[in-house]
């Protein structure tokens, strides 16, 4: 099943066209998306470093988690809304962009990692929270989160480059991964 028809419909809506062609709104939304990195990813990094036993070793991990997560959630909401607006402005090209696809896969993996952590070892935080270095499962979750968010940030930046765009000559593998279709549009 291809989502291309949906993206084509989305691109034809007046709101999408207006945002795409706007002089200030699109750059503004993009700036919000990038600068919120500081809040969302910045706070995640601190939390992940605590899970790895690198920062705030004398502060219980449970307290760092409780204090930081509300700010992460706030940052995440801004990220998702601004990110969806950026997709809304340029649906077809984003959908057929390899970095966009990689970013979505990494986002799903980051979500699964967070879910595994919170439904697993985090439930027993009362037992290990005070330890300077948390148990292995918590450290693995922290390291995986750092790696996945780094991939997400880099892929997000790379979406802007047209190296693997469908309207350029590409190898079959790239065409397949980007979901290029032969019919001229």
């Amino acid at each position: 099943m291809s989502l291309l028809p949906f993206c084509e419909w989305l691109a034809s809506t007046s709101g999408s066209i207006a945002l795409h062609e706007s002089l200030y709104m699109y750059p503004l939304v993009e700036s919000v998306h990038v600068l919120t990195l500081c809040l969302f990813v910045g706070m995640s990094v601190i939390l992940d470093l605590r899970l790895l036993g690198i920062v705030f070793r004398r502060v219980p991990a449970s307290e760092v988690i409780d204090r930081i997560i509300p700010w992460m959630v706030g940052g995440f909401v801004v990220m998702v809304i601004s990110g969806m607006l950026l997709f809304y402005a340029i649906p077809i090209r984003s959908y057929q962009n390899i970095f966009f696809r990689l970013k979505l896969i990494a986002l799903v993996l980051a979500g699964l990692n967070a879910w595994t952590f919170h439904s697993g070892i985090h439930r027993k935080v009362g037992e290990w929270g005070a330890a300077a270095v948390p148990p292995k499962r918590a450290r693995v979750a922290g390291a995986a989160s750092l790696a996945l968010w780094a991939v997400i940030v880099v892929c997000g930046r790379m979406i802007a480059y047209n190296w693997f765009d469908c309207d350029m000559p590409q190898r079959p593998l790239v065409k397949w991964a980007a979901g290029c279709v032969e019919k001229p549009r």
Partner: protein, 158 residues
Amino acid sequence: MLLPYFQWFETTTIGEWIKNSSWAFAVIESVHLLALSVIGGAVLLVDLRLLGFGMKRQSVSDVAREAWPWLVVSLIVMLVTGFALFVSEATKCYYSTPFWVKMTSLALAMVFTFTVRRKVSLADEHDMRPAVLKLVALVSLTLWFGVGAGGRWIGFSG
């Protein structure tokens, strides 16, 4: 007055290399963004604490001490990668208002962070008036916001 120097940067080996490579700018910019995430966290954590949010049960100085090495290291990465990006398009930067906004904010933010903010955040907070702590946080947030917003806007201009 500075224009010839800016133009010269682009003719240096590193400037030429980044400019002519199809991927160097993108890769350096990605590292610049990763460091932005870290410096953003390190700055925000302390400024939020100065404002009375976040890690409230720790003293301001504990939070500031913990964040400091991350701020310094990510700032160094930012400066090195930022300089590399700059030399590859120095002439464009010379004519870019956002670039000069960013550089002015950056100079002020660095001076403020390494003097007033460092001193206030590492001091015993009971010796400080709460209003002073809050003011320091607001100045820091404003200056660093100027750096970030100016930086993003360089890409939109020209």
